[in-house]
Amino acid sequence: MMANRQAIGTEYLIIGNSAGAIGAAEALREVDRHGVLTMVSDEPYPAYCRPLLAKYLAGERTVDEMLFRPADFYAQNDITLLSGNRVKRLELDSRVAHLESGEQITWNKLLLATGGVPIVPKMGGVDKKGVFTFLTLEDAQAIASFARNAGRAVVVGGGLIGISVTEALTKLGIGVTIVEMKDRVLNTILDEEASSIAEENLRQAGVAVITNHTVSEISGQAFTEGVVLDSGEGIPCDLVVIAIGVLPRTELTLNTEIRVNRGIVVDLYMSTSYPGVYSCGDAAEAYDFVYAANRVTPIWLNAYIGGRIAGHNMAGIRTEYRGGTTMNALSYFGLDIAAAGAVTPSDETNCEVISRRQDGIYRKVVLRDDVVTGMVFVREIEKSGIVFGLMRDRTNVSSFKQGLLADDFGLAYFPEELRRERLRTPGSGVGSRSAALGEVERLVSGE
């Protein structure tokens, strides 16, 4: 049957409208001001800050206050945003996207920035009223309205999303119990020491934490009345949030030639195995320089930068991704933590761990062959960025590694040459002032 309406033609089609999609759109527009750019998103809003959902739920931010870009972003950048619309199917060889609304879009370059979907385990009672996931604004709105009549909640999963929803619910006066399957909270991003500090902090805030257990069933009639743990213990509650993780959303690649492992596999140009089709963000499996392998790292920063690389490449500027790794700043219940990379060494032989803990301040770096491959900073996090920068740059730190955890650690610890390179100091050596002036335009100095 012939298509009953004409397809919309676009140079660039971005499926998704979060960090990766915006990163790509901004990079595209840096290079190509005029190529037709269309974005499709099943969420009916402009891009918003997903990590702020907890602030929204806690009543600290309105939807308007959590928009990721100014309201006129799409107009300013000549972007057609088809929001509240879902791409149903892709025809790669003819480069046609079929939308749920019946429309068709033909593209020249395609980006799959489709994000992730929450993992919901198969357990009894998961379809009862009062059971939620926490990934979208719609989820947060549903929880917010349900929470008005809720007194006790169980959060299944003690990861980043679990802790953030716990903080929001606590602020609403709801008593929360976290049930974590592994032996400690935040186990994928923190080491044991930092996890125990975080857990103690949760308990001090009045949160109950149960580790080494899972929820095997949600009890109640139509509405949730409690959960049953694998131990048989019951915990009464009227609200359950399932936060055990997110899987790459790859359904559009089904029955296509696009290679998918855990996520959509991309090369260093964020290109999938199908020419002209790119991917980034939580949907993609991109290069992780710590593990020297492709991995899914569902991190806002990696999504944005991956999108940026994809955007440049889509616009014809060949740009190589240097890889990303896990990196998180946590600030929950008044406790600030920065962590990145592999925080627990996998291979003891080549690895070295340096750590310090005093007065509740904890710092740790993991080195492999004198290159930083992991770090954790608890409470004092100001210098974590310098360490993360060294990690990102794969800098050999052998000459100053003992200083990495010093209270006064900074660029002063770097070898002079490295410091000059970092600070891009004009000229070098004593008396180089005039040389410096030659290199830098319009220098103005003090009186």
């Binding site: 206050e65 928009l67 806002w300 990196m327 002063a412 600070l423 319009r442």
Partner: protein, 164 residues
Amino acid sequence: MNRVYVNEQVCMGCGLCQVYCQAEHSMSKDIIKAFNRDLLRPLPGLRVERKGPVCFPVQCQHCDEAWCVYSCLTGAMHRDMATGAVVVDRDRCVGCWTCIVACPYGALVRNTTAKVVAKCDLCPEREVPVCVANCPNEALMVGEDRCGSPNWDCHRVEGGTEAG
């Protein structure tokens, strides 16, 4: 785009840059009042490092490839299109500190009271930033960045010109 450069050979670590920075960003903008009377003493947008004979201030480099901007969860950290400076919109900042982990210079500071990040804004109301204007030894300079910032996230391998 401008940024502040330091000649560490000339810096004597007096810390006046930091003092003037704090005063400039205080309510009163008066150096005595800012440290003596203002209820909320502002945080400095720079940090003086001292280690043995080596000393120099570190402030935001207003990088071309600004990781703090890329990492910002809310869009608060952004580039001012008019001046090219990397600035933070305090109303949009939620104090998640992701930018602090992203900044390879350690140039961002937590304002834990206001739950917003503090940084160098190049003193938008002045022609010359106060730290530069008040450096007694002329160790600080402000100027157009022609060296370009290191491309932390990528390097262009072929074709095209530098974008942005």
